[in-house]
Symmetry: C2
Subunit: 337 residues, 2 copies
């Protein structure tokens, strides 16, 4: 069981990060240059293979085991009327995941991925962060550790979440980390109407005012303005980095949850790609702030790792080309004029 | 064996088009509204299922058989120095397809699709269209018929092409159909240098001047400025439409080849989606002219139906959600507040 003793202890872990392996990446690039296609004609599919090779320290890289891990949590800020669905839906959807009836069950199957869902104290929502820190240090660190310990050995990790109210937490986190208030970052989430959107924006602005004292510290921000499933996502991404497991980020909430890692270390998310840009209002701006370019742009805004799972299909396509294609020499195809 | 007797005969066939089935589409929409997700939260994945249902006249639609059909041809305009590869590469790549060594072999396998490659007189390139029509009426109609007859019963058809020099033909076609000259439409194709790009632009402009007399007729444009594999693609897309088989378009060449269908009938490409937007310079503008929004944007520019095959993965993901997800009632999940 991982134990982070303090913000400072976790911060130190977020700075002590391994890099990708340059030799494995270069080996993948050399093979790619000999395959029967014009140079760079597979575009980002090629870059994805190099990225996989570097982080897996292997060429060719593998996608034999893809894990989809979804964390679920509940949020006191729901009391502010920020969601179109009642808080009970979080637990109901976790049951739906267990029964195989949710979108991510189907998408994981298509991607050949193994889905695991981890609930974090659904019966005890975090505090309403318009009035108090969502989590005290100890509760936050426990949630981070839960996420950290959830990561098993895999070739690729797709991260996602479920939590009624958590697009408000994500908006508050993004605002605290990158500036701008509720107008910049709050969107319609699961589908709030104009009045609900106004309440979300107000909740974000109230949270920024309430927690002005912690806005210089990404981890304190994540504790005060985040949520348990967001903290677990941060822990999971950190664990993946330390084990050099490449990560596919899902949508707005997942991206916001991982953003503190990029704030704490300049290359803190180098092992991660943005699976997609969601239809949630703030996501594109958040990806831009992080310098992440999404793989998929299909106006999805479901969460559950759904966008990451679709992106995993792109990774499978990329790797299949790298492994299966003939070289110019093998195929007897003339190289360039 | 299909026989189009004249441009007028083919033009009539391009006007006599079946529509999608509104009832099957509406049935898919009704099922979608009951699935355990916020309304429209799967974005374009939902729209794709409705589109499939309408064209397959079935709800749920199916993707049991996906065909990838690649047409190959050679081009007299290669004599103008418009390609980075020699013309022999077309036949060499067809051999590579047969041996299973090309990108599209790997991508078809990942997509669970059946690949067929059809060569059109590779030993007899079309005429250099800077000096003469690429094809006379009879040769053009024969190539269209070859494509038409190549289409077998399938749940989805991904179209693609191979042909050294054919991005120049596609640029000439796009210019003739939508205005603008070589500067607007010619790109680097398989990777020509600046001087090669200048030659491509000049070839397009020379072709427009040479064939000014046919620019009011989309089919005569396709004959004079296109190529055999482009004509076959047009025939294949027409056959698919008449059998209500939904089509995934590949990149710049494939889109240009099908564009005459949209010029001849306002909804001539309603049964087709743009699989991707390629890195080839003119593709995004061409999609915009046709009102097509690509599913994938990964800077691919290989042809071979490679972008369409990656898009087929998105369609599989979309259909899996539609078929496999539980309804709110089945899962005991609360609907909106």
């Amino acid at each position: 069981m991982t134990h982070f003793a303090s913000f400072a202890d976790l911060r130190a872990a977020c700075h002590d990060l391994p890099a990708a392996d340059a030799q494995a990446k270069a080996a993948a690039e050399r093979r790619d240059a000999r395959l029967t296609k014009p140079p760079r004609s597979l575009g980002r599919l090629e870059e994805l293979v190099f990225w996989l090779a570097g982080w897996q320290v292997a060429n060719p890289p593998r996608l034999e085991r893809i894990d989809v891990v979804v964390f679920a949590g509940n949020h006191g800020v729901v009391a502010q009327g920020v969601s179109a669905f009642p808080a009970e839906v979080t637990a109901q959807m976790v049951a739906n995941f267990a029964a195989g009836g949710a979108a991510i069950n189907q998408l994981s199957a298509v991607a050949g991925a193994k889905l695991r869902v981890i609930s974090l104290d659904l019966d005890a929502p975090t505090a309403d962060f318009t009035a108090a820190p969502a989590m005290e240090e100890r509760a936050f660190l426990a949630a981070v550790a839960t996420g950290y310990d959830a990561i098993e050995t895999a070739d690729l990790l797709c991260l996602g979440e479920m939590g009624i109210g958590n697009t408000t937490a994500a908006a508050a986190l993004a605002a605290a980390l990158f500036g701008g208030g509720g107008v910049r970052w709050a969107g319609r989430g699961t589908g709030v109407d104009d009045r609900g959107l106004a309440r979300k924006r107000a909740a974000v602005d109230a949270a920024l005012a309430r927690h002005a004292g912690v806005l210089d510290d990404p981890l304190r921000i994540a504790a005060a303005l985040g949520g348990r499933e967001l903290a677990a996502l941060l822990g999971a991404a950190l664990a993946a980095r330390r084990r050099r497991i490449p990560v596919v980020i899902d949508g707005f909430v997942c991206t916001a949850a991982l953003a503190p890692l990029a704030k704490l270390a300049p290359d803190g998310l180098a092992h991660a790609v943005a699976g997609h840009v969601s239809g949630e209002a703030g996501h594109r701006a958040l990806l831009d702030e992080l310098g992440l370019k999404p793989l998929i742009d299909l106006d999805m805004r479901l969460g559950e790792a759904s966008g990451a799972a679709v992106a995993a299909l792109v990774l499978r396509a990329a790797l299949a080309c790298h492994i299966g294609m003939a070289t110019f020499a093998q195929a007897g195809v003339a190289d360039k004029l």
